[in-house]
């Protein structure tokens, strides 16, 4: 499933609309306006509105998987690795805030099964990478083994997600990367031996 350049433009415009004004703001009319063409032209590139979102989520999941795998390769030390993973996440969403919606859309079971499945896949990807890093750290003795890796991963993930939510709620008015790094360092400190 490869995404053509024009499709990517549409996906990014759709993400912008949702991130700016909420899910309800994503209409074919507004999306076409932002693309500077007509509604009908959208259907030359996607067969439905749903397909636009599903394709976007696919794209994001694949992108994130690859990016986190590369970070893991580059950082053998587990504590550093977790820090670098989140720093990569912060940098990504700072650069591409239009994808923020994918983090929060779940919890709204919006519309279709395809969308839900796409969002869940993104969470699973993130969780898998984080869980692996923590398990490696527990084996090496860097992280505490007082609690299961699941639990520690949950706490870190929750900290990350709430931070992103607050960033979004604030209108992205602060430096998500700097503040986020401080939070993740604090959370890592709590679970480090």
């Amino acid at each position: 499933m490869d995404i053509k350049p024009r499709q990517l433009e549409i996906i990014e415009a759709a993400g912008q609309l949702v991130t700016e004004d909420g899910f309800a703001a994503l209409t074919t009319k507004r999306l076409a306006e932002r693309m500077h063409f007509t509604e009908a032209a959208l259907y030359r590139h996607f067969k439905s509105k749903e397909e636009i979102l599903v394709t976007m989520l696919h794209h994001l999941a694949a992108n994130m998987d690859e990016r986190l795998a590369r970070v893991a390769e580059d950082h053998p030390d587990p504590v550093e690795r977790v820090g670098a993973m989140f720093d990569s996440q912060f940098a990504f969403f700072q650069k591409h805030p239009q994808y923020l919606m994918a983090i929060f859309a779940m919890g709204m079971l919006e519309a279709s099964h395809g969308i839900d499945a796409g969002i869940e896949r993104i969470m699973v990807v993130k969780r898998r990478h984080l869980h692996n890093a923590i398990k490696v750290g527990q084996r090496s003795g860097a992280f505490s083994s007082d609690h299961p890796a699941d639990t520690l991963a949950h706490i870190i993930m929750g900290t990350f997600r709430l931070h992103m939510l607050q960033w979004r709620m604030s209108g992205r008015s602060f430096d998500v990367r700097k503040k986020g790094k401080a939070l993740i360092v604090a959370a890592l400190d709590l679970i480090t031996n």
Copy 2:
């Protein structure tokens, strides 16, 4: 601003629809069906669909504030207090899952400013109670002072919110109170001296 019994019924039905099938499922038609009357009858009790949601969020915020204040009074020990606060939250949402939407709706900037403000107020209420409890615990030496109370409150809140999200995503198929208690105990253990 008092809520009449019939209004409360409508509010709860609206919450059910959103929690079951997402925000888009809350239409005047479906809401009226669930109430076993016509759409027009809704407008005898609320002047708009937005007012239904805003009233619901007001009601929930007031309810939560009172409930958490009572828990705080009943538990002088800070560690116990935080545990009891979240246990009270788990029990509440287990009993009234129709209010779950209020936790997740933010992040979707749905529709109106009134709704956003209502959701933000709920988050502020929770945060205030938690933050107070943690500060008390830090002063008494029960909680670590290696990190600011803000940071610790953030980590606990994030842990809670992700847990609720997973419960919802699972179709509320596990014991949110039991699993939640374990998570909160683990998180508290990390920040306890």
